[in-house]
Amino acid sequence: MITRSLSSLAQALAAKEISSVELTQLYLDRIARLNPSVNAYITVDAEKSLAQAQAADALRAAGQAGPLTGIPLAQKDIFCAKGWLTTCGSKMLGNFVSPYDATVIERFNAAGSVILGKTNMDEFAMGSSNETSYFGSVKNPWDNARVPGGSSGGSAAAVAALLAPAATGTDTGGSIRQPAALCNLTGLKPTYGVVSRYGMIAFASSLDQGGPMARSAEDCALLLNTMAGFDERDSTSLDRPAEDYGRDLEKPLAGLKIGLPKEFFGEGCTPEVMALVEAAIAEYRKLGAETVEVSLPNMKLSVPAYYVIAPAEASSNLSRFDGVRYGYRAPEYADLSDMYSKSRAQGFGAEVKRRILIGTYVLSHGYYDAYYLQAQRIRRLIANDFVEAFKQCDVIMGPTSPSTAFKLGERAADPVQMYLSDIYTIAVNLAGLPGMSVPCGFAGGLPAGLQLIGDYFSEAKLLNVAHRYQQVTDWHLQHPAGLV
């Protein structure tokens, strides 16, 4: 049961092979047994989950079940969920019980799915290893000495360790795709504006985008159908007609033009990962696709531009965590200014502070033009690079992450090394494009991911391209030993 796809779980529920309560209990039992070592979840609340499962079973009995009714899902702890502790991986929100539902949560609740728990993450989604979480690092189920990636590391580990059939993530610079690659999952970051950000705790507003993390493209399509859609509460949400993201899954790939940016295939990537990516591309050629070399000349500027824009927005977004109205407040302080500095000094971790400082600096009088405006110009150049590239191809491919999962602690002391974990994913956020990571094999027993990048609103095509590959490969069906 625990290795089944979402649609097969739905069939099992429909056929009364299992009830939602039973299925939820099954996962809760696994979480109780395995989570202490994986640390994928920050919060589990069996009572709440089972109540939702019960309601889902009743909905099904009344003949009102949809494709996700009764299916338990892990929710990244960045999504506010009414009545749930919503920490965003931070001590700052260690006591914050959300009084409202994020739009994404509201949509899943309306679909009748069950919240299995809130997953661990880098503090305020700032990190690529899940090591910045106040609630402890997450172990990669493929090798518990290694990181699961980040920031959606808890979601990735939960699904990889079969502690949830699927999960949500958010991706600001690669936070869905990189952990998906490192944990052998399929993850999709949609076009900016497709999934509402309302209730998704902001890291960098112009880059943040929620999306699904699951075992297959097919599962991702199902999840995205529920997650996506216009939301008038998010001014950057796009008012577009609803679509079925799974509609093109089976389309043949003959004639598909795959763009291979030369910047993705030069230095920077480990040979083992590169070999797996090239093998995957060879598989696509067998499926009838053609490859063409394209160029993203400004790619090399994406990491520096990102590390100006994202911290700038974060420094402002995180100002609301001041100890005044909710969240952590220092127990002792002399005056207002002391309350602010102590609450924030004690409530935020080192990486968050580093980014607040960087962001404050680049927005300061006298530096704004040199850093922030310059970074915005680079951002436009990068977006234009993709526009040019998509004149020659339908989809761009390359590695998701330059390496497989690294060891816990290995890069924690070196922020620049850590930031380079995202060299292939960041440009996609800067351009606002959709991107996926798809399992493409193992090196030394550790999974690697193939990244697919599509033009704006080409989620259905990306899912199609991923799905056809998953029909001729079984990388995505592999599970860590000893967990099944």
């Binding site: 209730g199 705790i201 922030y372």
Partner: protein
């Protein structure tokens, strides 16, 4: 002694009369219990996002049109970052580099009557932003309470060029702006409740010097009287400081109405770096021609145009026309009265509105909107003076009767109380004959050269008709009889 020139620029925060806040659906009504009008967005819970209230943009467009400014086709909301407990997000959403209204002007009148002069105050810009909440320092045993009801209330911040040269000009500008924003219906103008707050940037320089002096900003002036006092004090203080060999440091100051003094709140050294940047949660505000034209067509006639029209259509003096266009309510009231009284009675209508009605309202401490005498009723009254049905003196009685609700119209009261003027010459002659016969002594005094006796005889005649005889006719006929 050196001659000094005063230079003043004014920033005004105008609270816009929208039902809900600028970026959330909470009510903007004043006076509710603390924090009951603060929703998830207003208290800045994690994850919430702002959504622009188009009603606030409508107000900004109206203002732009009213001051002949450019309504920017594209403006951008920016975050102004600073920490304060009544600023829940840690930043205020405002507009910085690209404001919604650019330029514009407000005309002010200085002095009255023949010596009145006009001056144009140029505007730099007007931008949309959200108000902060309030810190409550009382009743919390040494702690501070926060009320976020006001947080997110829409404001239009209107900034002038440094065009004013005296406190009188500054006050005239503030009054003209106050009247204008109420006229176009974007602000209730309630200064006690903080709906209209001014900051004055004041500097002095030797007369003839080109460069501006160093300015100090007087914050939060919420009455015209305080504005005048604060600027006057500040100007004296600056001149005295410089003349004593001191230098003016750029600073923000507060006016204390109790002492009549201004004192520095913070100096330039503690000035914030607000780290403005475009708010990534909001798209640029795009205002197309259509939106502007739709707004224009819904605009009331503006004061200047209405004043010109009143002078042309009703033959009013500039002074009368200015007074009658000092607010939209008074202008509408006046025009409704004239519509009943007829254009020929436009001038007496003006007098009745400006003098009699104004005095009566003042006596009862009432606003025009609460006047017991409607415009139609007043117009009906003036019509009866114009057609000689009643005299001006009787009209005052009828007005008082209308005020007290003794009848639905002037006609009804005139009829009911028998106040119709006697204009029949025969009737008046007969009346005079009776008066002369009954007052022989007075007649004799008059004939002996006592002019006062004549007035006494007129008085007797009027008394005999309870004032209803046409006084002019009584005069003429009496003189003829005694002639």
């Amino acid at each position: 002694m050196k001659q000094w020139e005063v230079v003043i620029g004014i920033e005004t925060h105008v609270q816009l009369s929208t039902q809900s806040k600028i970026f959330s659906g909470s009510s903007t009504a004043f006076g509710a219990e603390p924090n009951v009008q603060a929703n998830a967005v207003d208290i800045a819970l994690p994850g919430v996002l702002p959504v622009l209230n188009k009603g606030a943009v409508d107000c900004a467009i109206r203002f732009g049109l009213a001051v002949e400014a450019e309504v920017a086709p594209k403006s951008v909301f920016a975050r102004k970052n600073y920490f304060y407990p009544d600023l829940p997000k840690g930043y205020q959403i405002s507009q910085y580099e690209l404001p919604v209204v650019v330029g514009g002007k407000v005309n002010i009148t200085l002095g009255q009557g023949d010596t009145a002069t006009e001056k144009t105050i140029n505007l730099t810009r007007a931008h949309l932003e959200e108000d902060a909440g309030k810190s409550l320092h009382e009743d919390f045993h040494g702690k501070t309470g926060i009320d976020l009801n006001r947080a997110g209330t829409p404001l239009l911040e209107i900034v002038t060029e440094p065009d004013m040269r005296s406190s009188a000009e500054a006050v005239a500008y503030a009054k003209a702006l106050h009247a204008l924003v109420r006229w176009i219906g974007i602000c209730d103008g309630n200064m006690q409740e903080g709906s209209f707050r001014c900051d004055a940037n004041v500097s002095v320089r030797p007369l003839g010097q080109k460069e501006f002096g160093t300015r100090r900003e007087i914050k939060n002036l919420n009455s015209f009287r305080f504005m005048q006092q604060a600027i006057d004090y500040e100007v004296q203080w600056q001149i005295a400081t410089i003349e004593d060999g001191g230098r003016i440091e750029q600073a923000t100051v507060l006016f204390d109405p109790d002492t009549g003094e201004t004192r520095a709140m913070r100096s330039k050294e503690d000035a914030h770096d607000y780290r403005y940047f475009p708010d990534p949660d909001l798209l640029p505000l795009i205002i197309d021609r259509d939106w502007v034209e739709r707004t224009r067509s819904a605009m009331p006639e503006l004061p200047a145009a209405k004043k010109q029209r009143f002078m042309a259509d009703y033959n009013l003096s500039a002074y009368d026309a200015t007074t009658l266009t000092s607010s939209l309510e008074i202008a509408d009231y006046y025009e409704a009265a004239v519509a009943v009284a007829g254009n020929a009675a436009a001038k007496p209508c003006a007098n009745w509105v400006m003098v009699d009605l104004a005095a009566r309202l003042n006596k009862d401490g009432k606003e025009l909107a609460d006047s017991p005498v409607s415009a139609a009723q007043l117009g009906g009254l003036v019509a009866r003076i114009a057609d000689n049905t009643i005299s001006n003196n009787i009209a005052k009685k009828v007005f008082e009767a209308l005020w007290n609700g003794e009848g639905r119209s002037a006609d009804e009261i005139i009829e009911k109380q028998g106040l119709k003027q006697i204009t029949d010459t025969g009737a008046i002659e007969a009346l005079i004959d009776g008066v002369l016969a009954a007052n022989e002594a007075m007649v004799a005094e008059f004939r002996a050269g006592k002019e006062k006796a004549f007035n006494a005889l007129v008085g007797q005649a009027m008394k005999a008709t309870k004032g209803k005889a046409n006084p002019q006719q009584v005069n003429e006929l009496l003189r003829k009889k005694l002639g």
